[in-house]
């Protein structure tokens, strides 16, 4: 079985994101970029499934600028086998991303697709669900445990009420939560090896997918900032303030 894993290149989660003065977007110049965090969990899960003898090849797919190859290389250094980059701008909408993924699925025919539950830049939380609907494959979103059996899998999903378990037939799509596993670090020899692993480069036109955006960004603005409040000396003062000043208790 082949596993397809999608990885998005995003501003690193430790960076304090700044809105551009002209409200056209956020500052991306000279900003540290990394793999979208839950995508690391998706890569790690694929590696574990392969190590358990349940898969024989892991393909990494990223859609975006040339530099996404670095993100693909990171996944290859963790242990994935080969990569595919679909060259595009860095703001392809989930709708188009899901169409591109579906195209790749037609030719690669994976038995499982692992994705992140949410990209931490656009916070859309859409792409896995859309891809599932396009392919008519079962979806197991917000996965914190995946047990692959013969032709099915049992997936634990994190939902607002707690946990839910579903049984899905293979092939299926899972969107991974950060609690699914602890992603490994790439070892130096593996980083060296990854440099020789192949990355196939494609374009949206070649795949016949129209990626024209449907949503127009009118403006990107700074959220209202909160005033820093006061420090209280002790618990008694805190309770007094909450009772008589803020009147919330």
């Amino acid at each position: 079985m082949k596993i397809l894993v999608t990885v998005k290149r995003v501003i690193d989660y430790n960076v304090q994101v700044r809105v551009k003065a002209d409200n056209s977007g956020v500052e991306k110049e000279n900003v540290k970029m990394s793999m979208n965090p839950p995508d690391e969990n998706a890569v790690e899960e694929a590696l574990r499934i392969k190590e358990a003898g349940k898969a024989d090849e892991i393909i990494i797919l990223s859609i975006g600028e040339e530099k996404c190859q670095e993100t693909i290389r990171t996944a290859l250094a963790m242990g994935a086998d080969r990569g595919i980059l679909i060259k595009a701008t860095d703001d392809v909408e989930p709708l188009s991303v899901s169409k591109l993924i579906s195209k790749i699925v037609e030719t690669e025919k994976p038995g499982l697709i692992l994705m992140g539950k949410q990209a931490i830049d656009d916070d859309s939380n859409q792409t896995a669900q859309m891809t599932s609907a396009l392919l008519n494959w079962p979806q197991a979103t917000f996965a914190s445990k995946i047990d692959i059996e013969e032709n099915t899998a049992i997936v634990t999903r994190e939902i607002d009420e707690g946990l839910e378990r579903v049984k899905v037939k293979m092939p299926f799509i899972a969107s991974c939560d950060l609690r699914l596993n602890e992603p490994r670090y790439a070892s130096l020899p593996n980083i060296m090896k990854a440099k020789k692993k192949p990355i196939d480069i494609k374009s949206a036109e070649e795949l016949g997918v129209d990626i024209k955006p449907r949503i127009e960004n009118i403006k990107i603005s700074e959220p209202p900032t909160r005033q820093k409040g006061v420090m209280v000396a002790d618990v008694a003062e805190l309770v007094q303030k909450l009772k008589y000043e803020a009147k919330v208790i």
Binding site: I11, Y13, Q16, V17, V26, E93, L95, Q118, I120, D121, D123, S124, N125, Q126, Q129, M130, A133, L134, P138, Q139, A140, T141, R157, E158, I159, D160, E161, G162, L163, E164, R165, V166, K167, V168, K169, F172, D177, L178, R214, I215, E216, N217, I220, S221, E222, P223, R226, K228, G229, V230, M231, V232, V235, A236, L238, V239, L242, A246, V248, I249
Partner: protein
């Protein structure tokens, strides 16, 4: 403008997220139909028909739809989507699971987690964990939208006079089977709608110590929240998590105890009316957004807080 809303419920009760979503949709137009899908939901359908702004309830009451399996729900919506210009659902794990499927089948881009409605095609949504707000205009002919419940009021549960229409739907085969659910049961207010939330972080150090938080929550009739670090460490279950990848809360009072204030946590609570932070590190970023900061060891502060609250309660009695 005709609007369809996918209602969230658990076959017994309507979730308050449905009331917030109706209120959001009413900013776009006044023709609002509510789709209720479930099993044994007669009472729920009738209840919703009385809600403010509701014109019609479309009820699909079928044992086959008892568990909210996204793959079964989206075809129902798509089958009636023709009549609507806007389709709304709450941005809860329920709505997030279903709506992108509807959007892609209608070939439109979904607008996720809307916090403000500017016009019928222009919406505001947070990006980058709320570090920026995007004003976006949809150029699709149909709008598929999830709304952040806490950003909108709830509608009144009466005053409406909607009719209830019953529909049937023949599902095609799905390859996803519901097995079971592990829901946290508690007598406390629900986290996403509570007036007061007391949250604990890694500073609590253990599940055992986390009971200090429970104690304060009991005295304030508050819901309990947690940081991702506290959930990851197993102090409490995942449904307590507040933040970018957890729940968003907007209580009158949010008390953060032993939480450093990472942006991913702030994404879920920084709109709270009053924020209190208790942390022993005076440099902790949480103090930058707190209305009242107390730099103290929580293991001393929480027992004191507990007895101060007792004093207050006894004065009132």
């Amino acid at each position: 403008m005709s609007i369809l809303i996918l209602a969230e419920h658990n076959n017994l009760e309507v979730k308050s997220s449905t009331l917030n979503t109706i209120s959001a949709a009413s900013k776009v137009g006044s023709e609002i139909d509510i789709l209720v899908i479930g099993s044994d939901i007669e009472n729920i359908a009738k209840e919703i028909a009385n809600y403010q702004h509701v014109s019609k309830v479309i009820s699909l009451d079928d044992k086959n739809f008892e568990h909210a399996i996204a793959e079964k729900i989206d075809p129902v919506i798509v089958s009636i989507a023709d009549k609507y210009s806007h389709i709304f659902a709450p941005a809860t794990t329920f709505g997030k699971n279903v709506m992108p499927r509807v959007a892609v089948k209608l070939d439109v881009a979904q607008i996720s987690d809307v916090i403000n409605i500017e016009s019928e095609d222009t919406f505001i949504r947070p990006i980058y964990a709320g570090n920026a707000l995007a004003t976006v205009k949809s150029n699709d002919d149909k709008k598929v939208i999830t709304v952040r419940p806490t950003s909108f009021d709830v509608v009144a549960k009466d005053g409406g006079s909607g009719i209830v229409e019953f529909i049937n739907f023949e599902s095609s085969e799905t390859f996803t089977e519901f097995l079971d659910r592990e829901e946290s049961k508690s007598d406390r207010p629900e986290l996403s709608t509570a007036r007061i939330v007391v949250s604990g972080g890694r500073g609590l150090q253990s599940a055992e110590n986390f009971k200090l938080i429970n104690n304060i929550a009991d005295k304030l009739n508050a819901a309990i929240g947690a940081s991702r670090a506290a959930v990851d460490a197993g102090y409490v279950s995942n449904d307590y998590q507040v933040g970018q990848t957890g729940k968003v809360v907007v209580p009158d009072l949010y008390i953060a105890v032993g939480i450093s204030g990472a942006i991913q946590h702030l994404a879920g609570m920084k709109e709270s009316k009053i924020i209190v932070a208790i942390n022993k590190d005076e440099e902790a970023p949480i103090f930058n957004i707190a209305d009242y900061g107390l730099c103290a060891d929580l293991f001393e502060a929480l027992p004191k807080l507990s007895s101060e609250l007792d004093k207050l309660n006894s004065i009132e009695k």
